[in-house]
């Protein structure tokens, strides 16, 4: 635990008060209704979750043509799947997949703000937004990956993708060994949010194959 990143409680109270006041004023002026924010949040929290990304990755693992389209035209590939509406909306239209292959590992960071591909990954884990993580991952990705449990040999190229307003990257991790013949649903259960950011690999399933979450 460190004090470096702690902040005074009044600062938080200040931001909290600003948000409360702003929402109240917008309601009072008729710009939004008292239920607008809850409706939008409800949609995000129920529909725009990592489950979407997991389904996309699983399809890419079983269907090479889909994987190719996903790499070349990510929104078109996503549109082929039965995913919630809004995937191609304000945050979905710039989504771009990068695919891990033998000799290539992809890592997604954002050096300015958290331009996270919400529709497929849900909201970002808070460490992703930490400036220290962002700075170090940009400067020494190989070291950071090793610390996170993704040791890469020297022949593997690390490609760091810097998310921006124009492109929101997500990673299609490598399919683990020992999953031959698995259904898409089983495969999707193996995929983690972290693997789709590139800070983890998808480990091979335990011996009792077929019991994936």
């Amino acid at each position: 635990m460190t004090q470096q990143f702690d902040y005074p409680p009044d600062r938080e109270a200040d931001s909290a008060a600003k948000v409360r006041a702003l929402e109240a004023l917008l309601i009072e002026k008729g710009v939004i209704t008292p239920t607008t924010v809850d409706k939008v949040l409800g949609y995000f929290e129920s529909e725009m979750t990592p489950l979407n990304g997991k389904k996309i990755v699983a399809r890419a693992w079983v269907d090479p043509a889909f994987a190719e389209l996903l790499a070349n035209d990510t929104p078109a590939a996503i549109a082929q799947l039965d995913l919630p509406q809004g995937m191609a909306g304000a945050e979905g239209e710039h989504i771009a997949a990068v695919i891990n292959q033998p000799g290539v590992h992809n890592l997604v960071i954002c050096t300015l703000c958290s331009c996270f591909p919400w529709p497929v990954l849900g909201l970002p884990p808070y460490w992703y937004k930490d400036p220290t993580f962002r700075a170090r991952a940009a400067r020494e990705p190989r070291t950071v990956l090793t610390e996170l449990g993704v040791p890469l040999d020297d022949t593997t190229e690390v490609r760091v993708w810097d998310a921006s307003g124009h492109s929101r990257w997500f990673v299609v991790p490598a399919r683990p060994a020992g999953t031959e013949g698995w259904t898409e649903e089983q495969l999707a259960g193996l995929v983690t949010t972290e693997s789709m950011i590139g800070v983890a690999i998808v480990p091979p399933p335990p011996i009792e194959a077929g019991t994936a979450r």
Binding site: M1, Y7, V19, L25, C113, V199
Partner: protein
């Protein structure tokens, strides 16, 4: 709880990453309800056409850039403080709270958010 209560550092000052990096614990996305509302408000206003998402995002990039340029190692980091700053800015820039503000619905007959 502070947003960074779980951050720890080794002797060289490097961050030790949170367990959720490798456990897919379906991470805590908001530490406080006000952060959740700030997020929802920014998205809602964009979804209903009051500003384009990239206009909010530009404000967020500026707010964080200013923090990075001036903070040194002493100021603390709270992502959603910057978020709120950007939100207030974009709301003011677009005059959402001004008298006589005309929302997108009233500007175009066939447009309802999207």
């Amino acid at each position: 709880m502070s947003a960074s209560a779980d951050l720890t550092y080794d002797e060289s000052g490097r961050v030790r990453f949170h367990d959720s990096c490798v456990t897919d614990a379906n991470q805590p996305q908001f530490e406080e309800e006000w952060q959740r509302r700030a997020f929802g408000l920014a998205v809602a206003l964009s979804e209903f056409g009051h500003y384009r998402w990239d206009e909010f995002q530009g404000g967020l990039i500026r707010a964080i850039g200013e923090w990075e340029a001036t903070a040194g190692n002493t100021m603390s980091w709270e992502y959603y403080d910057h978020w709120v700053e950007a939100l207030v800015r974009v709301v003011n820039d677009h005059g959402l709270l001004d008298d006589g503000y005309v929302g997108p619905r009233d500007r175009e007959d066939d447009h309802e958010g999207r």
